[in-house]
Symmetry: C3
Subunit: 140 residues, 3 copies
């Protein structure tokens, strides 16, 4: 079985956001898949997708704080500055975190670890709506 669907996420503030439930809610055909893989591709280059802790919001705060320190705005060797001082750091963060994930599916559900959740990293101050293309392949 193959399914493919584009999911639209409303604008979120800069930082990391737990989107597991919103994504799964938009993919009802997941429930029909006994064994497979769900591929998620963010269609942007200044935001990211990563798997991390699904419980304490402080973990999301801390990873965002770490990245802001690691990739500050206004680095003297940055040339790509016309789209705003937060733009080039956002491109760097997108490649450090990644923009695509493949996730195991088992018995109609994402086979995440107990503490795993899907995070959207919004790395722009005003990133606007974000789109994810979800592709499922598997056995029903």
């Amino acid at each position: 079985m193959w399914h493919q669907e584009e999911i639209h996420l409303s604008e979120r503030p800069r930082g990391f956001h737990l989107i597991t439930h919103e994504l799964v809610g938009a993919l009802p055909w997941l429930a029909e898949c006994e064994r497979g893989l769900l591929h998620l591709q963010l269609l942007h280059t200044s935001a990211s997708l990563t798997l991390n802790e699904n419980s304490d919001p402080d973990v999301r705060h801390d990873l965002d704080a770490f990245l802001r320190e690691l990739v500050p705005e206004g680095l003297p060797y940055f040339r790509h500055t016309l789209e705003g001082s937060d733009d080039m750091p956002a491109h760097v963060m997108a490649s450090l975190m990644g923009t695509q994930l493949s996730l195991a599916v088992r018995s109609g559900r994402l086979a995440l670890g107990t503490w795993q959740g899907i995070w959207l990293g919004e790395h722009r101050e005003q990133g606007g709506e974000r789109r994810i293309l979800a592709t499922l392949s598997g056995q029903d």
Copy 2:
């Protein structure tokens, strides 16, 4: 063909560990796959999976040393500190390295480059046993 199996790795010390042979040994059905993809998902958020050099243990030492310098314990803006000073750095490293890999399969074997091996990154001092969910899709 689809196969799915959970693999249990015994506790390892903090650092990177080459696990290619242990993983392949646990997946006998790989040999039946003429062409496909093996997906590996670590079911944890304070350890990682990455592809890197399979020969000189110094490479594993050096990447671990680099990450310990990059993400030190006790950063003043970390809020998630109740689970130990190595916990939040481990979450950061997990997202920097990644926790899932898709690997090409060809003629019944992982189609790794000559120098490529699968590394488990254990980022906690006492991470305990780690579980990987392996999913194979392919042609026999």
Copy 3:
């Protein structure tokens, strides 16, 4: 449908290179795939694959400049130094960026976002030819 093919990329200078068109040109069977996933695995450990901005070459310059600052040559705790001072930094960058990508395919084409392109990160001064193993699974 399954297809698998090894692609050879000629030597490029150190830095990031946009390779979307070269890759797609080497995979004519992509056009027959209505819905699927293209997996790309770089068969090396001192270069990388990442998705990022496909238009302004300054973005590629800036990410490379950032990584050279982040992972300088000659760090005092590096032990893996016999293959040249650029070698261990290249291994670090390979794991930070990643060496494999899965990309959605829709209506015979890569379903990239408007601004997304596939980048090869060449992290050695003289990395030589690089090989990518491309694996497509999907519906025709």
